[in-house]
C-alpha cells in the first residue's frame, strides 16, 4: 500500500474510512450522489405524482417560479401534463441501474483482461493490446451506435454497449499497473513459494489496484450517464414507456418551442449528477494517490 512517511507509530494508521472525511471533503457532491442513489430506491414513495399520469388539462404548465406555474408541479409539466419532477425522480432509477451494471461489468472485464495481459505478457499481452488498439480506434459513440442498432434497444443494450466501449479503458490502465507490480519482490517470492496465478491475482495484485479502480469507476459515472442520455436521445437506448433522463430530453425536443423547462430540467439532473461524480472522483484520486494527478 502507499506507505506515506506519516509519523504515526506502526499499527495505528487510521482506516481508510476514517481518513476520508476531512481534507476538502466534497460535501455537496456526496450529498447529491447520495440523494440520487436514495431517490432511485425510494422514488415511487416520495414522488408527488405518478410519473406516467396524464392530465391534458394541465399540459405545458411552467415551473413554479415562472408566471402561471404552481406548487402542484414545481418543475412544470410536459406536453401530456405529466409532472416533470416526478419523471426526473423516476429517471434516477434507470441512471443508477445503468451506471451500476455498466461500471461493474466493464470494470470486471477490463480488470481481468488487463491483469492477464500485464501478468503473463508475451503473446497474451500482444493480442490483448492490439484488441485494445482496435477498440480505441473506433470513436466510442460510433461503435455504440452500430451496436445499439443491432441489438434490440433497451436497458440491456445500453449496458452492453457501454461495457463494450469501456472495458479497454480499464484493461489499459490495469495492465500498466500490473506491469510495474509484477516486478516487485513479494510477487516474485509468492511465485517461488508456489502460489498459482489465481492466488497471486487475488491476494497480491488485486489489493494494490483497488484504489485505481475506485477512482476510474467514480470518474466513469458521469460519462456513463451522458452516454445513456445520448443513446436514448437518438432513440437507440431506453424506450419510451420507460423513463430515463435521455428519453425525457428526446420527448421534449418535439415541443422545444412550447416548453423550455421540459428540456432544461432533466438536463440539469444529468449535469448535477455528472458534476458531483466528477468532483468526487477528482477528490478521491487526490486522496488515494497523490502521486498520480493525471489518471
Amino acid at each position: 500500500m502507499t506507505a506515506d512517511a506519516t509519523d504515526l507509530p506502526q499499527g495505528t494508521r487510521p482506516s481508510l474510512l476514517m481518513r476520508l472525511p476531512g481534507r476538502d471533503f466534497p460535501w455537496i457532491s456526496v450529498t447529491i450522489l447520495v440523494g440520487v442513489l436514495l431517490l432511485a430506491f425510494i422514488g415511487p414513495w416520495v414522488s408527488p405524482w405518478q410519473p406516467q399520469a396524464l392530465d391534458l388539462r394541465s399540459a405545458f404548465n411552467p415551473p413554479v417560479w415562472v408566471e402561471g406555474g404552481s406548487w402542484a408541479h414545481p418543475l412544470g409539466t410536459d406536453n401530456l401534463g405529466r409532472d416533470i419532477l416526478s419523471r426526473i425522480i423516476a429517471g434516477t432509477r434507470i441512471s443508477v441501474i445503468v451506471a451500476f451494471w455498466a461500471i461493474v461489468l466493464s470494470g470486471a472485464l477490463g480488470t481481468l483482461i488487463g491483469m492477464i495481459a500485464g501478468y503473463f505478457g508475451g503473446w497474451a499481452d500482444i493480442v490483448i493490446m492490439r484488441l485494445v488498439d482496435i477498440q480505441l480506434s473506433i470513436p466510442p459513440l460510433a461503435l455504440a451506435l452500430i451496436l445499439a442498432a443491432v441489438l434490440d434497444p433497451g436497458l440491456q443494450t445500453v449496458v452492453i454497449v457501454i461495457v463494450v466501449t469501456y472495458w479497454s479503458w480499464y484493461a489499459r490502465i490495469v495492465r500498466g499497473e500490473i506491469l510495474s507490480l509484477r516486478e516487485r519482490e513479494y510477487v516474485a517470492l509468492a511465485r517461488i513459494a508456489g502460489c498459482g496465478p489465481v492466488t497471486i491475482f487475488t491476494r497480491h495484485l488485486a489489493p494494490n489496484i483497488v484504489n485505481t479502480l475506485l477512482v476510474l469507476a467514480t470518474l466513469q459515472v458521469g460519462q456513463v450517464i451522458i452516454f445513456e442520455a445520448s443513446l436514448s436521445f437518438l432513440g437507440l437506448g431506453i424506450q419510451t414507456p420507460q423513463i430515463s433522463w435521455g428519453v425525457m430530453l428526446a420527448d421534449a425536443r418535439g415541443y422545444i418551442t412550447n416548453a423550455w423547462w421540459a428540456i432544461t430540467m432533466p438536463g440539469i439532473a444529468i449535469m448535477l449528477t455528472c458534476l458531483a461524480s466528477n468532483l468526487f472522483g477528482d477528490w478521491l484520486r487526490d486522496v488515494l494517490d497523490p502521486r498520480r494527478k493525471q489518471l
Binding site: 484488441l131 473506433i138 443491432v150 430530453l249 449535469m271
Partner: protein, 306 residues
C-alpha cells in the same frame, strides 16, 4: 527513427483493419436490409434476386473480402437508400463535418488558452477557480443538451442565431459551441500545467529581472513553449470531435457525415454506415499516429521504447 515510424504506421493500419472487421460483422448482424428496401408484399423471388444483386447471399467472410478489396480501391459500394456511390456521398457530407469540428476546435481553444495561461499566472485566484468551473461544467453536460439550451436561448428566445441547417456562417456558431465545450477541461489542464512548468524556468525569471514587460513575457516567451503539448494533442481533439459530432449534427440538422450515418443506421443502409464509421476510425488513427510521431520526434525516449 525510421523503424519507429514504420512500426507505428503498421500498428495503425492493423487497427484500421481490425476496426473494419468489427464494423462489417456488427452491421451485418443488424438485420436484412432487403426487407426494408422492398414493400412487404414483394414476392419471394424478387427478395432473393435483390439479395443476390447486393451479394447478401454469400457467406459473410466472402462478403467481407469483397468489401475490403473494393474499399482499398475507394469503392464502398452504393448507398441502398440514396442510390449513389457511398464515396460520393461521404465526399459530399464530410466537408460540413470537418467545418463544424474545426469551428468547435477554434471555440474550445478560444476558451482553453486564456483559461490555461491566466490560471497558471494567477494560480489559486478566483479566476483559476472560475476557469476550472467553466471547464468542468462542459464535461458534465451532454453536448446535445448544450445544443438544445443554446437553441432555446439564442434561436427561439433572442432570435439572434439560426437553429437548423448550415446555409450561412452564422449557422455554425451554436453547434460549434455545443461540440467544443467538452474538451475545454482537458485542454485547459494541459495548458495550465505546461505554463506552470515554464513560468518556473530560469529564462522567464531572467526576462523578468531585466525588465521585460509581463504581458510580453507571458504571451510571447512563456506561452510559445507551453503550447507545445497542446499542439501535439490537437489532432486527437479534432478527431474526437469529428467522431463525436453525431448527436450534435442531429440536433442542429447539420448536413454532415454524423447525421448521415445516424440516418443510414435507421434505414439499415449498411454501406453508408460501414464507410462512415470506418472514415471516422481512419481519422482517429491518423490523428493518434501524428501525435505519437510528433512525440517521438521531440522525445527520443519514446522512440526507443519497446
Amino acid at each position: 527513427m525510421t523503424r519507429f515510424v514504420l512500426r507505428r504506421v503498421l500498428q495503425g493500419m492493423f487497427s484500421i483493419l481490425g476496426a473494419s472487421v468489427i464494423i462489417f460483422v456488427v452491421t451485418r448482424l443488424s438485420g436484412d436490409p432487403v426487407v426494408l428496401m422492398l414493400p412487404p408484399e414483394a414476392p419471394e423471388a424478387m427478395v432473393s434476386q435483390m439479395r443476390e444483386r447486393l451479394g447478401l447471399d454469400l457467406p459473410i467472410w466472402q462478403q467481407y473480402f469483397m468489401f475490403l478489396s473494393d474499399a482499398v480501391t475507394g469503392d464502398f459500394g452504393n448507398s441502398y437508400r440514396w442510390e449513389m456511390p457511398v464515396l460520393e456521398l461521404i465526399r459530399e457530407r464530410l466537408p460540413a463535418t470537418i467545418y463544424l469540428a474545426s469551428a468547435a476546435l477554434v471555440f474550445s481553444l478560444m476558451l482553453s488558452i486564456p483559461f490555461g495561461v491566466l490560471s497558471a499566472v494567477w494560480r489559486g485566484s478566483w479566476f483559476d477557480r472560475f476557469a476550472k468551473g467553466v471547464a468542468m461544467l462542459g464535461q458534465a453536460m451532454p453536448n446535445f443538451w448544450v445544443g438544445l439550451l443554446l437553441i432555446i436561448v439564442f434561436a427561439i428566445g433572442l432570435e439572434w442565431l439560426p437553429a437548423y441547417g448550415a446555409d450561412t456562417p452564422k449557422h455554425v456558431i451554436l453547434p460549434a459551441i455545443a461540440l467544443g465545450w467538452y474538451p475545454v477541461a482537458a485542454q485547459t489542464r494541459i495548458v495550465r500545467s505546461a505554463m506552470l512548468d515554464v513560468l518556473d524556468s530560469d529564462y522567464i525569471r531572467m526576462g523578468r529581472s531585466v525588465g521585460v514587460p509581463e504581458g510580453v513575457l507571458i504571451w510571447k516567451y512563456a506561452f510559445r513553449n507551453a503550447a507545445v503539448p497542446l499542439v501535439t494533442m490537437m489532432g486527437v481533439y479534432f478527431a474526437s470531435m469529428l467522431g463525436g459530432a453525431f448527436v450534435v449534427e442531429v440536433v442542429f440538422a447539420w448536413p454532415g457525415l454524423g447525421r448521415t450515418v445516424v440516418e443510414a443506421l435507421f434505414a439499415r443502409d449498411f454501406p453508408v454506415v460501414q464507410a462512415g464509421v470506418l472514415f471516422a476510425a481512419l481519422m482517429f488513427v491518423a490523428a493518434n499516429l501524428v501525435v505519437d510521431l510528433s512525440y517521438g520526434l521531440i522525445d527520443p525516449r519514446i522512440r526507443n521504447d519497446r
